[in-house]
């Protein structure tokens, strides 16, 4: 089988980001928080300071490398929470129908009607800044698309012969949902999840930029951008490198999502074997 170019490029970018996040302490040249030295303040990129230094003389390269940990943690964990919520609600709503379906539909429409970033902002404002509140805020606000997809897939899969057959063979509702319905809708759910991860990385950057996410001095790409905005004309490397990191990670995730969609499509899967 030929893997699509977007899958390879996207996968490589995402793998690079994961690698950087995992091995940050070994890849970084200096401690991202503690190694401030005013003697080296605002050095432009050079052989010593790959990405330059900031106003406190901290190495931007080391901070970007460590920032990967926070950005990816937020992206992956919050999207996992979203997927679990969305699939659970969508699957049960589509399967059982009735008042539960109406309720879930209403809730989904409500979530779609409020811009999720505004919703996350409100939650952050209540919980206060920090990694945990970021995970909660982003994990609870982006499940509506997953829910819709899961519900729609359930409705179409429900009438499939093998789901009917499972009922005839004495499967209970839970067993039908877990063994018959869930595995058959996993493709689109994974695609949505990958794309959503990119969205979550962006949302983390936006919230941190607004000062509601990760607080300085801890490095997250969003908070670094936020700190850098006053020096954008005098020291552009402060914003370019964290921005590039966000750009490449989100691009990678979106390409990966597109590539996965191509191979997880049941049509192309049957062609492959």
């Amino acid at each position: 089988m030929k893997l699509g170019a977007s899958l390879i490029i996207g996968g490589a970018l995402f793998a690079l980001a994961i690698f950087v996040g995992l091995f940050a302490p070994w890849l970084a040249h200096t401690d991202p928080v503690m190694d401030a030295n005013l003697m080296n303040a605002e050095e432009p990129p050079s052989w010593i300071w790959w990405f330059g230094t900031d106003a406190q003389g901290r190495d931007i390269y080391s901070r970007v490398v460590h920032g990967a940990r926070i950005s990816l943690t937020v992206g992956i964990v919050s999207q996992l929470v979203n997927s679990v919520i969305g699939v659970t609600l969508g699957l049960t709503a589509g399967y059982w129908g009735g008042w539960w379906d109406d309720f879930v539909n209403g809730l989904t429409n409500l979530m779609l009607a409020i811009p999720s970033l505004i919703f996350a902002l409100a939650i952050m404002a209540v919980l206060g800044p920090g990694l945990t509140s970021l995970l909660i805020a982003l994990g609870l606000t982006n499940w509506s698309f997953t829910c819709r997809i899961a519900r729609a897939s359930t409705l179409s899969l429900k009438s499939q012969g093998y789901v009917q057959a499972a009922r005839v063979l004495g499967y209970g509702d839970m067993r039908i949902m877990i063994t018959q319905l869930l595995p058959n809708m996993l493709g689109p759910i994974i695609v949505i999840g990958t794309l959503g991860m990119g969205g979550a990385v962006l949302a983390e950057a936006a919230l941190s930029f607004l000062g509601l996410g990760i607080r300085p001095p801890y490095p997250s790409w969003g908070s670094m951008l936020s700190e850098a905005r006053d020096q954008i004309t005098t020291a552009p490397w402060l914003s370019i490198f964290p921005g590039l990191a966000i750009f490449l990670t989100v691009l990678g995730l979106n390409l990966l999502g597109d590539g996965l969609r191509d191979i997880l499509d049941p049509q192309s899967r049957s062609r492959r074997t």
């Binding site: 499939q160 012969g161 093998y162 009917q164 057959a165 499972a166 009922r167 005839v168 063979l169 004495g170 499967y171 209970g172 067993r175 063994t179 018959q180 595995p183 058959n184 996993l186 049941p266 049957s270 074997t273």
Partner: protein, 326 residues
């Protein structure tokens, strides 16, 4: 045979909800199947044979519902049982195989796992034992190299192989009754014969009763000891399968028998045309008054248009529903 029959259907009516009103899709259907017996239900599309089978396993869904009558499994009424008890019957005591082996298997799950699931679900086995039993089950339906085949996905198997897997799943728990709804319609003729043979042998070995549903009178008469012919929601004739060709009593059955090509007959030799039954099965919403077959019947008289015929007993275990039966 002593004790209650394995399954007994008494005066079953199945209602179809059409907006404000209800119409009876199936009416006055009664039959019984004893342990290890083979019973056939024959009829055209829309005659109500498949929904009768669904009623037997308690899976009628809106807009269909049981309007009247009783279905008893080993003397106990199925309808009265709580949902969990009904579910414990399905797949375990009563199993079913379907027309379309292509769609009746989960495409993303290896076939061995789908067989093993039955042992886990109904027999309380752990997955290790269940997987071992799945290999044996595949071997029993004569799938070659079963220990490798258990890892195959449904799309890697041919239609005949898939139907064998379906039979393995259905017979996994050693059910007392196997409902086979047009089990070979989607298969090649040569594969058909193999599958029927396999099903019949396995059920005979294990003492499993078969309820076979088909539009193919010849096939059903070949497999089953007794046959009931359904037309427009009613059983019009019920006979031992040996009698049905020799001495069928209902004009509809006669029509079905006449429409079968027979080796050496004048029609097959090309001298005459094969006989057909004029007209089509009426839609459920406008079944005719009186005998439902009367618009297509050559023997129809005034009474057929006004009064529905009662069942008449014929010999030991035959019955017919016709004013002018032969």
């Amino acid at each position: 045979m002593t004790g209650p029959p394995l399954i007994e259907v008494e005066d079953l009516r199945i209602d179809l909800d059409v907006g404000p009103s209800r119409v009876a899709a199936v009416e006055g259907v009664s039959f019984r199947i004893d342990r290890g017996e083979t019973f056939g239900l024959v009829g055209e599309s829309g005659s109500g044979k498949s929904i009768t089978a669904l009623a037997l396993i308690g899976l009628l869904r809106q807009p269909l519902s049981i309007g009247a009558g009783a279905i008893r499994f080993e003397g106990r009424e199925i309808q009265g049982l709580p949902a969990a008890r009904q579910r414990a019957l399905r797949g375990n005591r009563i199993a079913m195989i379907f027309q379309e082996p292509m769609t009746a298997l989960n495409p993303v799950s290896p076939v061995g796992r789908q067989i093993a699931e039955m042992f886990v679900l109904h027999k309380g086995k752990n997955w290790r034992e269940a997987n071992q039993l799945a290999v044996e089950a595949l071997a029993s339906v004569r799938v070659p190299a079963p220990e490798r085949r258990v890892n195959d996905y449904p799309h890697q198997l041919s239609g005949g192989m898939r139907q064998r897997v379906m039979i393995a799943i259905a017979l996994a728990c050693g059910p007392d009754l196997l409902i086979a709804d047009e089990p070979t319609t989607a298969l090649d003729v040569t594969v058909q014969a193999e599958i029927i043979e396999l099903m019949r042998n396995l059920c005979a070995e294990r003492g499993t009763a078969i309820l076979m549903i088909s539009h193919d009178l010849g096939l059903v008469a070949n497999v089953c000891r007794r046959v009931a012919v359904m037309y427009a929601g009613r059983i019009v004739e019920q006979r031992g399968s040996a009698d049905i060709f020799r001495a069928c009593a209902h004009p509809y059955t006669q029509g079905l028998v006449d429409s079968l090509p027979r080796l050496g007959s004048r029609a097959v030799l090309g001298r005459t045309r094969l006989r057909e039954i004029a007209g089509v099965v009426p839609a459920i919403a406008d079944f005719p008054n009186g005998c439902r077959f009367n618009p297509r019947c050559a023997r129809a008289t005034e009474i057929c248009r006004t009064t529905a015929p009662e069942t008449t007993l014929l010999g030991a275990d035959g019955l017919v529903r016709c004013h002018h039966h032969a």
